[in-house]
Subunit: 423 residues, 2 copies
């Protein structure tokens, strides 16, 4: 099932190191992305739009910067002034925004090249698009950042951006066998991104390995995300157990156990943690918050282009419309109590370890899988990382998830980087 | 100075009551707005765009709803699919978005008519536009929601929307002598609004009186904002004193004192409150958060249309770019500590009373005045209301501000409504 011709992610850090040693240079780096795109995208369908000539023209006028030569895939819910931006919906066929989203502008400011727009599910919600999983073309790549995960998995780009409102970064990263990193809420700007749920929408990044994601984000944001201040110390890892664990596959349980053992063997303490009741309640509150806000965010589309919405989305927006403000407010209070409870959890450990998804990518393209193991962490706003490297009995990737304290992205990324090396 | 021909706000509640009694009907209500616009806007310059024929055409196809016949002015930083949306910047001259902002879609869903787009300062920041204060044409109406405040003050519309990132709702409401209401953070959606600072940008509403704002918002959001559950009880009002008070005029000090006395006389307790140090620090952290985020939100414009930005905005964006992420993170932590301190403040009182601005609208149109008395409350996310009714020795409006606990909009609006009646 594992098709080596398709799955071959390219490491950002390796590219940067080669560029530093003069073994490659920006134009060549981007040309390699274009030729990989030409070779495999007809099969995988990761990109919604790529114009190679425009990419080359822009490359000639590029800004100097730390990301020169880095080709980036941008989920097609981020506005680009020079490429169509269709939000995965026929309503926006051929839509060309007036301005770049903040994220795209900041990437370009740092010297990066936008290779193209990656396929998103309809408005980054559940209705699948045409992207396939590079490990098995008859399986979903996950969603909603389907194209971004697949594009990185196939080495078409070293970096791609997605978003997460339920589980749209961590889940496709896990299914496609690459690193996914959802930073602390609002570390990356959502301005110029098509909103679904303002409280939840979070920009996430895909890369070959966790260290690549950290190193890229460090260069983009000028934050210290890789310096290993705790190098010689070990950490306490909370093995996070909750009532939803019975929905995870046997193979996934084994994968998390393997990860826990690897962390133990390298000197870290791994403690068992039962999910506090406040956090179980917060997970349930996620849907209320999401649907209430989606009904507002997509009110124009619902009222003016109803026939062009999928049935799933129409029903979700109607469900959102039926939620009373008092119930929405109560859901937000439940989330707040969840965040307070989580602070206590992080007094007994530094990071949490748990599944990234219920198992490997499910068969078929009719569903993008379930965000059950992700949505609580989206609502909590905490950094979350999918760590690739493990697989099930069929060779399909299994991702384990590390979650850290809000604002503690560096530690989370560092421990996750260590764990990936150990696996 | 007080020009009665210009200043004549129209009460939303009165309109709704007249409609209910059959004394007016939706088409006539909107026609009255159009004819008032025709009579005075050439002088006041509150609107950026109005197309009377399009308004009439839309009115014929309007949805049934509680806001039928209500003509609304929308600050020109909210996208409208059928009207230009220029964000107060030459960069966007003639720009026509593909979709309505969530706010506009929700107003239309409730049956309201969008009369047109009101003048905003450049990207809702400080650089003034051409709107004049209806009380004195040589004075600023305040900003950045200049047109919305002036349009309501002149009775061109019963309701207008603005936003507040520093003091852009409460201050122009105070200068123009109308009610301004900044709801709890994110009660109204910002989707489809041009962002400046995601942490701060808050939708606000203008109306003739506080009760009008409350009643309108109740109909728009289905929240209970007017039911007076505490009718026969009195409240404890914190007379909020801080180090910036020495920047308020004598007349303003007198106005707040007058308001405090009125509240006392009607049986409420008014206690003195010294600003906790955490809140003084939070006020100072506002600029760091705002400028850091503005540099991201407007990165495309800064990098591609620099020459079309005002010098003030260019300098602000450059200042934002120079802020280190660690300093931004620290500013957010200071804000968090401010919110914690504010929770303690609200254990000793129900609402706070303080100036809406340093004084009456300053002379000249070169500045929109200072958001000093507002920016802390924007950062805290608390409901804030400008209460009109008082004036200085020249007859210029002086606004007093009531601030409530996050989520406690109903109580804040109710006490503010009572106070307006008392003044």
């Amino acid at each position: 099932m594992h098709d080596d011709r398709l799955f071959s992610p390219v490491s950002f850090s390796t590219l940067i190191a080669r560029r530093g040693r003069g073994e490659t240079y920006p134009v060549q780096m981007v040309e390699e992305s274009l030729s990989r795109f030409n070779a495999v995208d007809e099969t995988v369908c990761a990109f919604q739009f790529v114009d190679p000539d425009a990419v080359r023209a822009e490359l000639l006028q590029r800004r100097a910067g730390p990301l020169e030569g880095i080709a980036i895939g941008i989920k097609d819910i981020f506005d680009t002034h020079d490429m169509p931006t269709e939000y995965g919906s026929a309503i926006y066929a051929g839509h060309r925004p007036k301005a770049d989203s903040a994220l795209v502008a900041l990437c370009r400011r740092a010297g990066a090249t936008i290779l193209g727009k990656t396929v998103t599910t309809e408005f980054a919600f559940l209705t699948p698009a045409r992207t396939r999983n590079p490990h098995d073309l008859e399986r979903t790549p996950g969603g909603s950042s389907s194209g971004s995960a697949a594009a990185v998995a196939c080495g078409m780009v070293p970096i791609a951006f997605g978003t997460q409102t339920g589980g749209s970064t961590i889940r496709p990263a896990a299914y496609c066998g690459v690193a996914g990193y959802k930073p602390s809420y609002r570390m990356l700007p959502v301005t110029g991104m098509k909103a679904f749920s303002t409280t939840l929408d979070t920009v996430g990044v895909f890369a070959a390995h966790v260290g690549d994601a950290a190193s890229f984000m460090e260069k983009l944001t000028n934050r210290d995300l890789t310096h290993d201040g705790f190098k010689r110390k070990t950490v306490t890892v909370g093995y996070y157990r909750s009532a939803i664990d019975n929905q995870a596959s046997q193979a996934m349980h084994k994968a998390v156990e393997t990860a826990a053992n690897a962390l133990r063997r390298s000197g870290n303490e791994v403690i068992d943690l039962e999910e506090p009741g406040e956090l179980s309640l917060a997970r349930e509150a996620h849907t209320t918050i999401q649907n209430f806000e989606a009904n507002q965010a997509l009110a124009f589309e619902a009222d003016n282009h109803r026939d062009l919405l999928s049935a799933t989305l129409r029903e979700t927006l109607e469900a959102g419309r039926a939620i009373l403000p008092v119930d929405y407010d109560e859901a937000r209070r439940i989330a707040k109590r969840g965040r307070d409870a989580l602070r206590s959890v992080f007094q007994s450990c530094d990071v949490l370890l748990l599944p990234s998804a219920a198992g490997a990518a499910p068969s078929g393209l009719a569903s993008t899988g379930d965000p059950l193991f992700n949505k609580l962490w989206t609502l909590m706003g905490t950094p979350a990382v999918n760590i690739p490297g493990l697989s099930d009995e069929h060779g399909l990737p299994l991702g384990v998830q590390m979650v850290g304290r809000f604002g503690n992205d560096r530690l989370t990324l560092n421990v996750a980087t260590d764990l990936e090396r150990l696996l």
